[in-house]
Structures are given as structure tokens and as C-alpha cells.
């Protein structure tokens, strides 16, 4: 009895507070949602949705996985939900931002912005499964077993999906370079 009580108290005392989670993980959640194809204009809503889920479920977080893995599970579900709603509304506009041709300016901000827009467009060329796995493996740098746990698939499937996503991304980048070469001629 006493040890159960001690465990409960210890768990409650070590549970991170919501504000702490927000402070530490806000950037991660924001970036992950953007890379998972959430439209710039919907990012605020999606981030808010994620943290509202966190607020509701944090007391039940049992630290069986790392907080980041747990958060990423929520981010994935919210991103999928937003994409589904976007499709259901029949929006023809792509979720990802469009690359503005020739928008590259001299200043660093513009070139950074352009780099992000290119990445966003390349990620948009991957299908949803490959995009998710690519973001997890190559951008968030999570190990494959952890990715398998987040996506609730077995490790072998995760490995082969990561491999296919890398190939698809390389091909998309090669196509982008080819387009650039054609326009610069």
C-alpha cells in the first residue's frame, strides 16, 4: 500500500507541468506540424489542437515512452486530422505552400524562406506515409524502432518505409534540380 502510494506521489511529483511542456516543446511541435504538411494559415490552429490534447492527457502520461515520442504521436494524429478535414472540405489548394519561382532575394531571410519552401514542396511530393516516416527519420532524427512505435507498425515495415521515403525524396530533389537547370538556361 505504502509503496503504491509512494509511487503515485513520485509519479505526480515528477510529472512535468503543462507550462513546462509548452515552453520546452513548442518549437518542436510547430516545426513538426509544418513539415507534416500543415498549411501556414492553419499552423496556429493545429499547434493549439496539439497542446489542448496535451493539456487534457498530461495527467495520464505514464512516461512509458519519452515525452517527445508521446508528443509526436499526438502531432501525427492532429496533422492527419487536419489533412483529412482539408480534403473533405474539397480544398483544391495544396496543404503545402507553393514555391514562388524567382523569389530568392539577396538577403538571408529570403533565401532561408526559399529553402524552406523548396523542402516543403519536395515533402509535398511524397505520399502521406512516406512523408511522415521521412520527417521522423531524417528531420527529427528518431531511431527506427521509435518510429515504428509512434506509427504503430512493426520495425521491418518501418525500415522499408524509411528506405522508400529516402529514395522518393532523393528523386524529388533530383527533379527539382533538373527543373532549376532548365529554367536557368
Amino acid at each position: 500500500m505504502s509503496s503504491t502510494v509512494d509511487q503515485l506521489v513520485a509519479r505526480e511529483a515528477t510529472r512535468p507541468a503543462f507550462d513546462e511542456v509548452y515552453e520546452v516543446h513548442f518549437d518542436f511541435v510547430w516545426c513538426a506540424l509544418r513539415r507534416l504538411g500543415i498549411l501556414e494559415s492553419s499552423t496556429d490552429d493545429a499547434v493549439q489542437d496539439v497542446f489542448l490534447v496535451v493539456h487534457r492527457k498530461l495527467p495520464a502520461f505514464e512516461a512509458r515512452s519519452t515525452l517527445k515520442t508521446w508528443l509526436f504521436g499526438i502531432v501525427l494524429r492532429v496533422a492527419r486530422d487536419h489533412r483529412r478535414r482539408h480534403k473533405r472540405k474539397g480544398n483544391k489548394e495544396p496543404l503545402t505552400t507553393e514555391l514562388v519561382d524567382g523569389a530568392a532575394g539577396p538577403d538571408e531571410h529570403t533565401s532561408n524562406n526559399q529553402a524552406w519552401r523548396i523542402l516543403d514542396r519536395l515533402l509535398g511530393e511524397l505520399d502521406d506515409d512516406k512523408r511522415e516516416v521521412f520527417v521522423l527519420a531524417e528531420i527529427e532524427q528518431l531511431p527506427v524502432p521509435e518510429i515504428a512505435a509512434i506509427l504503430e507498425i512493426n520495425s521491418n515495415t518501418a525500415y522499408s518505409r524509411v528506405r522508400a521515403a529516402r529514395q522518393a525524396f532523393e528523386q524529388a530533389l533530383a527533379r527539382h534540380h533538373a527543373r532549376e537547370a532548365r529554367t536557368s538556361k
Binding site: 500500500m1 503504491t4 502510494v5 503515485l8 506521489v9 509519479r11 505526480e12 511529483a13 510529472r15 507541468a17 509548452y22 513548442f26 518549437d27 510547430w30 516545426c31 509544418r34 496556429d44 499547434v47 493549439q48 497542446f51 489542448l52 493539456h55 495527467p59 532561408n112 524562406n113 529553402a115 524552406w116 523548396i118 523542402l119 516543403d120 531524417e138 528531420i139 525500415y159 524509411v162 528506405r163 529516402r166 529514395q167 525524396f169 532523393e170 530533389l173
Partner: protein, 229 residues
Amino acid sequence: MTELQKPTREFLDNAIHSDRPSPEDRARIKASIDRVVATSAASRPRARWWKIVGVSALFLIGLSTFVALQGEKAAPREPQALEPQGPRLAGTQAAEPKEPNAPPPPPRAVDNAPPENAPALPRRPRPATRLPVPPKLGLEDEARIVGDAKIALRRADHERVLDLTHEHAKLFPNGSLVAERLAAEVMALCALDRRSEAKATRALLALRERPALLERVDAACEGPLLPER
């Protein structure tokens, strides 16, 4: 497993760091979350109340149906004794023996009131009306409050510690974590320099025979809290 080619990796690293949220984004979204949380917190007790009322209503309906069925089983009707005087629908009057020239009786929609000399009908027990039961608080709730108090103590938010310990005292006067609550309270009172209250609370803690907690409390409070001998 095939890794990304070097130029692809470099492109990716460059692009990843080019899209970051601004402090304004952070503050704006936080404010919006706080608003939503505050609104839902305000409506939660009302929602919980309606849930309790709903469940209680269902329970009462179920109970009354059960009692009614049991009542019918336990006390079968006695048709011979009751039929001539018992309540009857107007449509059943045709079965009554009638004199051929007698004037027709005034029409009665439903004969609800039994005649004065009728034997008393067995009464069905009425289900007792029950007030909705407040949700039962458990050990998890108790641990949550004490855990929150410990977090507040770590953050030196001593007023919050006292709020939480008072809440705990109200909800769990004889809880399993009374000693932990008292310890947190003493430390908070010490930190707020309310030494006489701290001393009194420490005396209560001493009754609980938790030497480890007492030691921790004494170490946390600067200066002697022990009662003078």
C-alpha cells in the same frame, strides 16, 4: 540501410533551420490555449453536474422499473375480490350485468377512484428518490493534490502549496497522505516566515510518527521548530 546522399543531407539541414516559429507565434498561441482552457474549465463542473443528473435519472428509471416488476411478481392480483369494485376502463362496462330497462349509467372515462367500501389495493412500493452522489475521490486524486503541492514547493510557490494543502485537508481529512501534506505545509509556512503556524503544524506531523519526514522538515526550516522542552 541506404542513407541520404551528402548534398541531400546538406540541403535538408539548411532548409530545416530556415523555418522556425517566432516568439510572437509562441505567445499568441499560448494566449489562445489559455483562453480555451479557462473556458472549458469553467464549463466542466456544469457538464459534470449534468452527467451526474443524467446517470441518476437513468438509475432511478431502472430502479423503478425493477421495483415495479418485483412488486407484480410478489403480489399477484386477486381478480375475484377486486374486480367488481376495482378501477376499470369505460370499455369494460359491456360485460357488467344490466337490467333491460334501466337507464344507462353516466359515461365514465376511467373509474379511477375505488368505492369507499372497496378493499385496499396492495400498494406498489415507490422508489425512493435519491440525490445525485458526488463523484468519489480516490487515492489517485489524493496523490495528485499532494504531488502538485510538492511541485509547487520545488518552484517556491508557497502560497500555492498552502492552497493545495488546505484543499487536501478539506477533501481528505483522514487520507493516506496526511503526513506528506503536513510536511509540505510546514515547509511552505517556514518559507513564508510564519513560524508559529509552522511550529503548530510540525507538532501535528510529529504525532504521525514519520521520523524521516520530520527530519526533512527540520532540515528545510532554518532555525529550531522543535517545541521547547
